[in-house]
Symmetry: C2
């Protein structure tokens, strides 16, 4: 199980592909897990990868395709015929198959679906494609184990054997009534302990968590996490059981959400990776840098407006980067705590209380930092005036930065806007400008200029 992809191994594979030695490749790779095959494919160029996909069994390659980076998958799929793509999809659960089909253009989608032999599978995939993205309908799979209230335990086990053929893992056994409406679930334990002739209606648990096809992904993730569910059934508008969502799909979603917040905080529009093209990375990064440039130009303009002060007290200028940096740091800290708290749904109480707490916190930190700075400037320049004006400014700037950093995400959240956008460049830039403005005003005041 300790699979390690060595450069030697990759070289061997590449050589075998160059020799078109299909037999040796099949032998070499037959014991490999699809996730390991996927890791291997990522190291090959798209022609080599395509060759392997065509060569190996769809049972392995279909799952490996799912694991690939979207770009590579797209390049491989372009080299496959609709029939070949259909063969891969045939092996996948409906939710995964629908995800792959959704990446194809409309014409190819139709062609591929026509080539899927299992008609029920094809119909299921088409159904999934019709749901809105970001809803439970688009996230669910059609594969599940479903028994009727009216069945006996013996009949139920018989039917489960049949259904289990299509289901990779039996998470839960869902119980429905005559009209197919979800009425409860059956515990495996109860099924194993009941006598063969017992009716399901006598032993099933009539309480079951569920979501509808229109439930938002975020809400699905929240419910599954809160109630520690490993699978949740999905019903349509009429309460009819139509699919189920498993925890592994939610794990990916949770991870992506956490990463998105992090990327936003770093000034990167979501969904880029280290291996993306320079153009894609530029598109994700440049807009935020422009915002930063704008802020810097704004700061320069503000400082330009204090020309007299600066000409006669040039020392003040030496500390503008410090003030700006501290305003930015404090703002990012405050906003990150709020953004994370909001994401985890544990920011409670009024905005007013939050702001008072942040103000006290900032005052405490600010006092410590300002004191240190005061003694430093005093030691360096030997004048109390400058030390006092700069460190008092720092103190005020830190408090204001903390308040802005707390208020903006809370405000955005109230307005229904993703507060994560407030961390990072946005808050740094606005705090830079506010910081410098406050700094110069206070210095002017204290120095009596």
């Amino acid at each position: 199980m300790q699979f390690q992809l060595t450069t030697d191994f990759i070289a061997t594979i590449e050589q075998l592909i160059a020799n078109k030695d299909g037999h040796a490749l099949r032998e070499l790779l037959k014991e490999y897990h699809f996730a390991d095959v996927a890791e291997l494919l990522e190291e090959l160029n798209s022609d080599e990868a395509t060759y392997l996909i065509k060569l190996l069994k769809s049972k392995i390659t279909s799952e490996a395709l799912m694991e690939l980076d979207e770009d590579l998958r797209e390049r491989i799929l372009e080299n496959l015929t609709p029939t070949e793509i259909a063969q891969e999809l045939e092996e996948l659960d409906t939710d995964d198959a629908a995800d792959i089909i959704a990446e194809l253009d409309d014409k190819t989608q139709k062609e591929v679906i026509d080539k899927i032999i299992d008609e029920e599978h094809a119909a299921d995939i088409v159904e999934l494609l019709n749901y809105d993205e970001d809803t439970a309908g688009a996230l669910m799979a059609k594969e599940l184990v479903q028994v009727k209230e009216t069945w006996t335990v013996a009949g139920c086990v018989r039917e489960m054997r049949r259904q289990a053929e299509n289901v990779t893992r039996v998470h839960s056994i869902y119980v429905t009534n005559r009209e197919g409406k979800l009425t409860g679930r059956l515990s495996l334990k109860d099924l194993l302990t009941a006598s063969e002739k017992t009716k399901i209606s006598e032993i099933f648990i009539p309480k079951v968590d569920y979501v509808t096809v229109h439930t938002d992904n975020e809400e699905v993730a929240r419910i599954m996490q809160k109630y520690d569910l490993e699978a949740i059934p999905v019903v349509d508008e009429n309460g009819v059981l139509v699919g189920r969502i498993t925890i592994d799909d939610i794990v990916d979603f949770i991870k992506e959400e956490a990463e998105k917040d992090y990327q936003m905080a770093a000034g990167i529009s979501q969904d880029v990776e280290a291996d993306d093209s320079i153009i894609a990375l530029t598109r994700a990064r440049l807009p935020w840098l422009f915002l930063g440039l704008l802020g810097g130009v704004g700061a320069a303009a503000i400082m330009g407006g204090f020309e007299e002060v600066l000409n006669n007290h040039a020392i003040l200028l030496l500390f503008t980067p410090l003030i700006a940096a501290m305003a930015g740091n404090v703002g990012v800290q405050s906003s990150a705590i709020i953004v994370q708290g909001l994401a985890n749904d544990d920011v409670k109480g009024s905005i007013g209380n939050r702001l008072i707490k942040e103000m006290l916190l900032a005052a405490l930190n600010g006092a410590a930092l300002a004191t240190v700075l005061f003694f430093f400037i005093w030691g360096w320049k030997g004048t109390i005036d400058y030390g006092l004006s700069i460190s008092v400014s720092l103190f005020v700037v830190i408090i204001v930065a903390g308040i802005i950093g707390t208020f903006i995400p809370l405000f955005l959240h109230k307005r229904g806007i993703d507060p994560a956008i407030a961390t990072g460049p946005f808050i740094t830039t606005s705090n830079d400008i506010f910081g410098i403005l406050i700094y110069l005003y206070i210095a002017k005041l204290i120095l009596g200029i």
Copy 2:
């Protein structure tokens, strides 16, 4: 299932607790899910919460206790007797029980364990407490369904009924040999389809992923995610099956890891929440702010060294915050991409190639930003000299910042240090200083001072 905690409901509960109306409270809350009870407890003060914990059935309250914030749980546990705590633990899976016990002081731990009636349960908890934190041993639970190779299907089903009593969910059926060593797993499907007299040795799957008690949590999470596992068996040094880890424990771990990176990037030492005390928050935030202060003082000292330049070309000073901010932004972007890539294990290839790519990217972004800045300064001040020197500096600073932002996390990672520490204040501060230094040198060069 759409549980909403209203202030009215909380007020009702508080009133009933004040009246010590245990009967009404039990009636009102008996249908509630433990996760909802936990949400309610979070809204009460610790005396009220303790009252409810003592009042309601341990079956519900034990699980609710697990969901609580650590601080609140600690305050509640302080008000419970060892016997009462033992009653709660009796209802929990061993992994959760061990987590709670680990939070108690040594003396209370002993007392509580003595009061646990189920001796096997107590012994299991003690075993779990002995494993190192952050290893599979400390993460696993002892509850699992285990069958012997030598059994028949009929015997297996009989035995499973017995074992299933203690297992909340049957994830996988693990197969062991005479010595208890893990030899494979059994699919429920195969069990359902095989005849009663079939030997397990004929139908079990001899291939199974596993980890040892010493495997690092991070590695467990990586394996479970990579291979899409919902549970993984844990073996000891001799290959004997001793426990299993389920995906819900890993979900929490994955989430915490992603949040930790985010907090580090924001300059917050891990593990604080919006609701923590001001002292705890200060401890997490102040050290990073001191680092920023140090950086700012360094920047001031550097600028002080260019006094002549600055006296005669004061306009240069107006743009130092811009230069520092841009260096910081670019550095944070580059490092965030690398840190996230390393966390997801998809940063491959040599450091050299990464640096070249980042350099090209930074050059592209830098050229665009520098051009805009040039025209802005030209328009504002009407001189080409300043515009040229400031924007050329910006271009160079952006490239250097990108390289530093890429190199530092890669370097730390190679050294076995968590690269997340490199994002945020650390990289911003060093980039501020480098940026300003480069800026002033280049300006001096171009202006020929």
